[in-house]
Each structure stands twice: as C-alpha cells, then as structure tokens.
Point group: C2
Chain length 201, copies 2
C-alpha cells in the first residue's frame, strides 16, 4: 500500500529529549512535511475541527476500529486514546506531501513492523543527568512522576537500536543540523531516487 517513493519520516524519543522543538523546526523549514490526522477519543475543544485537527470518536468506536486492525499504532495519553490509521497516512502521501509521524517509543516499534520502508529517527538526551535536569526545570512534574519518567526514559533508551538513525540532542542547533542532514540524506536513499531516474534516452 505504501509505495517505495513515498517519504515517511518517523521521529521518536524518550520524554525530555527535545523532540517537539526539533520537529517544529524541521516542519517550518520543510513545509512539504505534514502530520496525518489522528483519531482520538478525547473531547473536541472549542475551535477544533473534526476531521482536520483530529477524527473525534467515542470509546466504543475506537474499540471497534482497534478490533478491525485500523491503526498502524495507537497510544493512551492521560485518559484518552490516539491512533494513526493507514487511511490518514495515505491521504497525506496521495496529496504529494511527505509524512512526519511523531510517536512514542511503543508507537515506533509498531510502525517499524507495519511500515518498514519509513525512515526511523530516535532522539536522545546526551546523558541521564541532563535528562533529569530538563525534567526538573519543566517544573511540571511531582517528585513521584519525575522518578517514573526517569525510569521510563532509561527503559525507552534501550529501543534506540530499533531505529535507523540516532541523534544526540546536546546542543539544540547542532541536533537540528544533524536531524536536517538525516532528513535530506534519506531522500538520496536508493528506493526514493531510482523511481525518478529516466534512462530511456
């Protein structure tokens, strides 16, 4: 269903690695990159448009979709569920855009199996010490959730070897240049270039 010329860039990271900032910068510089529209059980908020921001569904409907193997990956975030469907992925690709999937570590593992030809990038903090100080500086975590997050991050770091590329986010600007280099290089991968070659003449 996914064609070899389709460009799918999957980015994942343990929390505190700086993923969101890096993704925002990349999408700003390369507007051809788009997110797909996720399906969620969360309540629609004022100003949000169903089918544009998210596909809003009931818990029951989400269960049905799950049962029908509708999602490439899905996650529980707080008290709601979010899923990425093949339909939403294809919509982006068929429009000629490139797809950026921003997923948690479990989602990355699921996508690795379902869309192996995508490009998988894992962003990591330079050290646990730095990760800890970043999470503390957010001031959004209680000591208990901080401990849980750090424990999870240690666990999640072990998934790095499942990814094609690993970017160490020590200095943000350096990490961004690395991410951009990887993004550009992925366009030179044989499966993307070969379909565009024309040697008939």
């Amino acid at each position: 269903m996914i064609e070899t010329k389709d460009f799918i860039f999957v980015i994942s990271a343990p929390s505190g690695a700086g993923k969101s900032t890096l993704i925002a910068k990349l999408m700003k510089e390369f507007p051809v990159l788009s997110f797909s529209v996720s399906t969620t059980t969360r309540t629609i908020r004022p100003g949000e448009v169903d089918g544009k921001d998210y596909h809003f569904v009931t818990d029951k409907r989400f269960d049905e979709l799950l049962a029908g193997d509708y999602f490439l990956e899905w996650a529980n975030i707080h008290t709601s569920r979010y899923g990425t469907s093949m339909d939403s992925v294809k919509k982006v690709l068929l429009s000629g855009r490139e797809l950026l999937l921003d997923v948690d570590v479990q989602g990355g593992e699921a996508l690795r199996e379902k869309i192996p030809d995508a490009h998988f990038v894992f962003i990591v903090p330079p050290s646990f010490k730095e990760l800890e100080s970043r999470l503390v500086n957010r001031q959004t975590e209680s000591p208990e959730t901080l401990a849980v997050r750090l424990k999870n991050a240690r666990e999640e770091m072990k998934s790095a070897s499942l990814y094609d590329f690993v970017i160490v986010n020590d200095d943000l600007e350096k990490a961004y240049q690395d991410l951009k280099t990887v993004y550009l290089a992925c366009h030179m991968q044989a499966n993307h270039v070969i379909p565009k070659l024309n040697y008939d003449s």
Copy 2:
C-alpha cells in the same frame, strides 16, 4: 571482524558518472577518510613504494591469495589485477581512520555480501545522453570502446538498487553537497552512535 563502530564508505559508479572527482573532493574535506592499500600484479613504477602505494605481487602470488579467499573484492583493469584484502581494510580501521573503498560495480556487489554494515553509495549520470557526451568529450575512447562503455554503463545502472544511496551527478557542486550530506548522515546511523552513548551517570 568489522566492528559496528567502524566506518566504511563504499562508492561505486558506472564510468563517466564523475566518481573520481567527487571522491577527491570528499577526501579533501574529510581527511579522516583513507583508502586501503590494494594488492596488485602491476609492475612497480618509479617513485612508488611497495606496501605504501600498493602491495606488489606476482601473478602466481595473486592466484594463491585468490585461492585463499584473501580478497574482499578484486578486479581486472587493463592487463593487471587489483584486490582489496581484509588485512588492508583492518589496518585503516585499527588506526582510527575511516575507510573509503572506490570500487567498480562488480566490486560493490562483492563488498555488499562481505561487509554488509558498510555504507554503499552509487553515483549515476543524469541521463545516457549526458553520459555519452562525457565519454566523447574525454577523447580517450575509440568509437568501438565508446560503444562498449555505454553498453556496460546501461548494464551497470541496473545495480543501483543494491546500494543504500544513489546520487545523481547532474551539477558537480550539487552532487558533492548530496554526497557530503549522505556521508554525514551515515555517522548518525544507530550502529555508529549507540556504542558511543554513555548513560551510566
């Protein structure tokens, strides 16, 4: 024998793609890249040093080495043979340098099997028309050898899918930037980054 942290960059191309110019530029900008010392049956020339420029051997000795599976790849060029040995490859890697292997299409195929963790780059001309005009402009080819070279190039182009990356050499400066991007991105591949991470603290 090759460790995951070892960096091996294999570049191949049909003749006339501009490989040599691109390699020279890359090695100038990144002096950490080194060639290995090939083994050859060619006669030593004035000024050449055995063991530095090449390992010079007799035809009989080359046959013995071949029989002993000594070479990762080898080729017949004009009337002499040239081979790349694991010994010469390891010598470069153990010295802490990165290895650049400049090989013909057959050599690339052999290396793909023997050192799958290397990075494989294929350089192609933008079209056959352009390839033909480049070979004609060299003025070193008779009409007969030109026809053979073009036929071979068409054949060799089919190997592109065996490589990780394909770079189209239309404009030299653009192609060089692409090659450099690929070279830098390969350093972010998970197998190179993970051994350097230190999450003990």
